[in-house]
Every structure is written in C-alpha cells, then in structure tokens.
Amino acid sequence: MDEPRYDEATKTYTTGHSYDGIEELNTPLPRWWLWSLYATIVWAVIYSIAYPAWPLVSTATAGFLGYSTRAEVAAEIARVEEANSELNTQLAAIELTTLKDNETLHQFAVSAGASVFANNCSQCHGSGAAGAVGYPNLLDDDWLWGGDIEAIALTVRHGIRNEQDEDARYSEMPAFGEQLEKDEIAALVAYVQSLSGLDHDTALIEQGAELFADNCTACHGDEGMGDRDQGAPNLTDSVWLYGSSDEVLTETIANSRFGVMPPWSPRLSDAQVNAVAAYVHQKGGGE
C-alpha cells in the first residue's frame, strides 16, 4: 500500500490502494447517506422493541405491539368465516334439490365442498374422487345407495354400515362359502359375469341362473339390477367395486363384502355436509 496522495485532476485524495498503477480515489460519501444509515439503525432498534425479535431460551421477546403472525392468521380466518357466515347459514338450511337454482350459493357450496372433500374424503375416495378397490368411484353414474344430491348428503351425514350412527344405512351380504359348494359358487360367478356381458364359462350358466334365483334375487333383484334401498349393487353394469375376475367374484360370493363408511355428522357441520354433497354431485355422476 502506498501513501495516500493528492490527485490534482479530481481534487481528491487517493486511498493509497494501487493495483497495476490503477489508484483508488478516496471520494467522500455524502453526509446524508451516513444519516440514512443511522436512521436505519434507529429504525431497527425501535422495530426490535415493537415486534417479536430477540430470541430467549424457549421463546422470544413479544414486542410491545403484541403482534404475532399466528394471531394475524387467526384474525384472517375469523374474518373470512364472518364474511361467509351468511352463506353458510343459508347453505345449512337450504332444501338441497333447490341448491342449483341459487347460482351464488351453489358455487360457494362447490368451492367449500372441494376443500371439505380434500380434507375428509380423499383418503379413501382419492383426491380426484375416482375411488379405489372397495371404495366407490364418485365420478361414474353407478350409485350403491342413490346418487341424487339428497341421497349423497344422507350417505355423508350418517355413513354406511357403521356402529356409531344409528341412522346409518345398513345391509349385509351373507358369506355363501358356508352354504354353497365350490362348484356352485363357480357357476354363480359365471352367471354373474354373463349378466354384464363379460367373458364367462357358458356351460355353467344354467346352474348359475338357478342358484342366483334361489340365493341372490332377494337383494340384487330378479334381473340382477340391484336395490338401492339395501345398497345391493347392480350386477348388470360395467362398474365393479371390487373387480369382476373369477378370483375376485369367488371371493366376494364366498366371503361376502362389508364396506363401511363413517358418519360425518357432527364432525362436519350441516353446511359442510351439504357443501361436500354438492361438490360430489357435480363431479359427473350426480343424478
């Protein structure tokens, strides 16, 4: 480092730093710039007293303004709930069949229902409501217990085949493995497959039809069209909750199936039940 020298051309001293003969001028900073630095320091001190700032052992200084992001979020949520309370009251009280006539309320219900569904229903029925093996697909037009908006709301409110809600609709398919021989079950499988036009063993059809008439028609109907009052599936359509292969149908007939859905009331409010019913109803399968 060289000694600072006075530079005639710029009337300024150099800093003494010189690199390959290029020297650095020691141009003074404007004083207001210095004051702006002091101002930011003062600001920082006041800010750290006013707002949560200094870390302590298990918490931090709260700041005299009492501000917290958590309280801000809580206030924001309360504000939104307050703003939506009128719509929610209407939604809880509405006759569901008339919901679609009220476009604003219907839109509100569908939007609210989407988040209710994502939080509570998607675990079994999937985020896209396409269901899974044993969990019905809510997008198609096949409904076990009814697919109009009121039936959907009823299912959501009380659930299916559960012990917690005495209004839950209940049915139980017998396990025919105890009553029928293996070849009889195989014949039933072939007959059931024939009902919806699937590939099947034609030699067994006659025996299967007889067995079906004796054992199954009480719930599934003479034509195998099912019965929504009992949640008995339509066996003639292309939608299969558990599958339609020989193995799966044999398992279904021999050991039966017992799909349970929990009741969502009172865990969900009436408005939330109606909202999620409206959401599911407009996913493509609603009747």
Partner: protein
C-alpha cells in the same frame, strides 16, 4: 485544507447549487418536453373512453382488483401479461438505443427526476429570484423576509408534490369518483397512503435531493456508461478551441473567456470543461449558456456542443467533424433498432391476431378416464372461456374428431354456455366414447374443441386428446 497530515473527512456535505436562468434552443425544447410529459401524466386518467355499459369508461386504467389493464381500445387480461413484458423490454431496448446514439438524453430531458426538479427550480426562481438573489438569500440570516420566501416556496412545492402523488392514484380506479371520494374523505386508506408517500418523495427529491438522486441513488447512469462509446453524441467542451481560457485583455488565445456561464446554469453543479463526468445528465443548458456568450463576443457558436469524442482528433487537426448520421448509424444502434422494432412488430402482430373468443382447455387427468355403468369411457376437461366483450355472450360448444365422441356439459343438458360480460367462466365438459368403440379402447384419440359465438358466428378451437382404456397400460 486537506493534506497528508490532515486527511479529508470521509463524508462530504451537499454543495448547494443555484442554477442561473438561461434561454436558448435547448431550454425552449426542454420547456416543451416538460409541458408534454407533465400534461400526459396529469391528464391521462381523465380521458374517457366508452366501452359499453359493463366496462369502465376510463381510457387508461390499471384495475388491480379486477386484474385488467385498459389502454384505450386495448384490454389486457392477466394471461396476456406478455404484452406488458414486451413493452418493458422495448422500453429497455429503446433506452439502450438512445443512450448509445445520443448519450444520457433520457436523464437530461425526460427522466421524472429531471422534469420535476426543473419544475421545482422554476418555482424557486419565481419566488426567490435568479441565481445571485438565491445565493444572497442562502447566505442571509433567517429573518422574517427569508422565512416568508422559504415558506412560500415550500408550500408551492408541497402543492405540486400533492398533485403529483394525487395524479398517480387516479390511474388505478375511476378518476372522477376517486376525486370525489378523496375530497369527502371516503377514499380507501391505501389511496391516501400512496398520495402521502409520493408527495413526500416528490417534495424531498425535487426540492432538496435533486442532483444527489442522480449521482448517488440512481443505478441507471452507471449502466449507461457501458452503452456509450466514442461515437456517442454527447455534451462536451471543445477544449482544443477554448483553451487556453481567460479574459481577452490578458492576452489568452482560446475562445473560452472563463465567464463561468456554463457552470452557473448547471443543475448538477459541475464544470463541463473538465470533460465527461459521471454527474453530467446532458441537459444541454450549458450549450445554451455558452452559445449566448459566443454570440455576444462575436465568436462561432458551439464551444460547448453536442459532439462525439471520435471527432476530437479530426477537429484538433483542423478538419471537420463527421456528419451526425455517420455517428448515429453504426452496428450497435442498428442492432438495437432492429431488436426494438422486431419486438414491436411482434407485439403488434400478437395484438391483431388476438382472438375475440378465448379458451383454454385443461384435461382432467385424475383419473385419466371414468368407466360408466353402460361400459362407455368418459373423459373430463376443464374449459375456461373468456368473454372480453361488454355484453353477455352465448357460446355453442362442440368437438370434432376422427372417431365418434359425444360431448356433454356439466350442470346443463344443453351444449351452450353463457359467459357474463368481461368475465371468464370455468365449464367442465365431458366427452364420452361408446363401449367398444375404437376411441374407448385406444390409448389416445385426438380431438378438437370448438366454441362458437351463437350471435356473431365467430369461432375458435383448441386441440387436445381423449384417453381410452389403453391409456392405463
């Protein structure tokens, strides 16, 4: 005095600057630019433009809440933000072009900091007098006279500052209504806060900070340094003509009589005769000042002039400077012009081919398809329709494909949708392939959605695909 034993302070106080009144070509030009730019700024929000009953009638409106930008006959929706991005790129390239050709003309003529500072200096001169009077006032004791002049000046500045901040908010909402609300104290707090902040910055930057903003705060002069070269036309001093400077009777031979006129008019407080310097905003007022003196002493004008550094050796050798167009037309400026106009033409083209009907199709892929009870395969699509008109419009939706596909709309038995004025509508559309059809069994089938305005017959289309059963495998 500074010396090695007594090093200079690390900090320097602001040197007061008292620009003297000047007249001439560039000063007149600058008055016009000031009038036009301030006129545009203050008056634009008040221009009305009829767009129909459901749309705002303000010619230029940035509707942040409604996410619309209106500019006369053009309406920009959020998905068309590339227009704004394109304009910003053009603004950038335009600055590059002008800077490489003409130096810091932006700084000298049109930068808001320059324009408002100029206006504030004008007010200062009206109230406190010209340079000499202002220097005297600055040195004077704070007596009643000084207080009266200072307070008057500050009040006028404050009024201009309030008008400046006030005009800004009118761009963001209906101006006449906001004006009433502002006066009756019914406007949104954000409006008052914005006016307050802009009033403060205008008052401080225009009245007190002035050249400090350009020298210490603005990054643009630093960037401009990289845009300029020896062919850039910029304000300079013909040192080879002016030196040695001095009074005539002292026997000097240069044209510069060292009258300090160029220094006295400079709003940046520099001496252009020291050569190119960071502080110079090329406002050209020193040219006017010097030309005035040259006229008076009967010398050729242009001792201080717009000139290119590459002309210096020519002129020193007694030759003539190259013509201006030879300086301006060089690869660098041509490339900038080409880029600038290419983007401009591209944007114009995009503007003219903008469809009046606009739709985006987003296929629902969760799940890829649904098997219906009759064995048919259904896909769902979320279609967003945009109606940019001021009236409700009814659209007919259809599809074309090489295979048989059936279209249905959620929530209606019809295939027509009404989209309210100036809104978008999200409509779920179902497409179904019958059981056993090729489209039901194949992995993918191409299809094209059509929307058609039922009244005008205008149509638009979007291509997408239909997923069949093989899509899973």
């Amino acid at each position: 005095m500074n010396n090695a034993e007594n090093p200079p302070s690390l900090y320097a106080a602001q040197e007061p600057i008292f620009p003297r009144k000047v007249s001439g070509f560039f000063r007149t030009f600058k008055w016009w630019i000031m009038a036009v730019t301030l006129g545009i700024y203050y008056l634009t929000p008040w221009i009305r433009w009829d767009r129909g009953p459901n749309l705002p009638d303000q010619a230029v409106l940035i509707d942040l809440a409604g996410r619309r930008f209106y500019f006369f006959w053009i309406e920009i929706w959020p998905h068309e933000f590339y227009f704004v991005a394109g304009l910003l790129i053009m603004a950038g390239l335009g600055l590059f072009l002008f800077t490489s050709a003409l130096g810091r003309v932006w700084c000298g003529y049109t930068c808001p900091q320059t324009v408002w500072t100029d206006l504030f200096i004008l007010v200062e001169r009206w109230i406190e007098g010209d340079r000499n009077a202002r220097v005297r006032l600055w040195r004077a004791k704070w007596d009643a006279h000084k207080w009266r002049l200072r307070i008057t000046k500050w009040l006028v500045w404050l009024l201009i500052a309030i008008a400046t901040g006030g005009a800004w908010v009118f761009y963001f909402t209906d101006a006449p209504q906001l004006a009433v609300d502002l006066v009756t104290l019914n406007a949104h707090p954000v409006a008052y806060a914005t006016i307050g902040a802009l009033t403060a910055t205008t008052f401080v930057f225009g009245g007190f900070m002035r050249e400090q903003v350009c020298i210490y705060m603005c990054p643009w002069p630093r960037i401009q340094g990289a845009m300029m070269d020896e062919d850039t036309i910029t304000v300079g001093y013909r040192e080879w003509r002016g030196e040695p400077r001095g009074k005539k009777h002292e026997g000097t031979t240069g044209d510069c009589i060292d009258c300090m006129a160029c220094v006295n008019v400079c709003p940046m407080g520099i001496d252009i005769r020291d050569g190119q310097q960071m502080e110079c905003i090329t406002c050209a007022l020193c040219i006017d000042a010097c030309d005035d003196i040259m006229n008076k002493i009967g010398k050729e004008r242009g001792l201080i002039d717009y000139l290119a550094l590459s002309d210096e050796p020519l002129e020193r050798g007694g030759g003539k400077a190259k013509p201006v167009w030879k300086h301006i037309l060089r690869p660098r400026t041509l490339v900038y012009t080409f880029l600038w106009s290419t983007i401009g033409l591209g944007l114009l083209f995009a503007l003219f081919i903008r469809a009046e009907i606009d739709m985006t199709v987003s296929p629902v892929r969760n799940p890829t398809y649904v098997t219906m009870s009759d064995g048919s395969i259904r896909n769902a699509y979320d279609i967003r329709l945009r109606n940019k008109h001021g009236d409700d419009r009814e659209f007919h939706m259809s599809l074309t494909s090489e295979e048989v596909l059936i279209i249905d709309l959620e929530g209606t038995d019809l295939v027509n949708v009404v989209v309210p004025a100036n809104e978008t509508k999200l409509q779920r559309v179902y497409v179904t392939a019958r059981r056993g059809d090729p489209s039901a069994t194949a992995a993918r089938t191409d299809l094209r959605f059509w929307v058609e305005d039922v009244v005008s017959g205008e149509r638009a289309h979007t291509n997408t695909v239909f997923n069949g059963k093989a899509a899973d495998q």
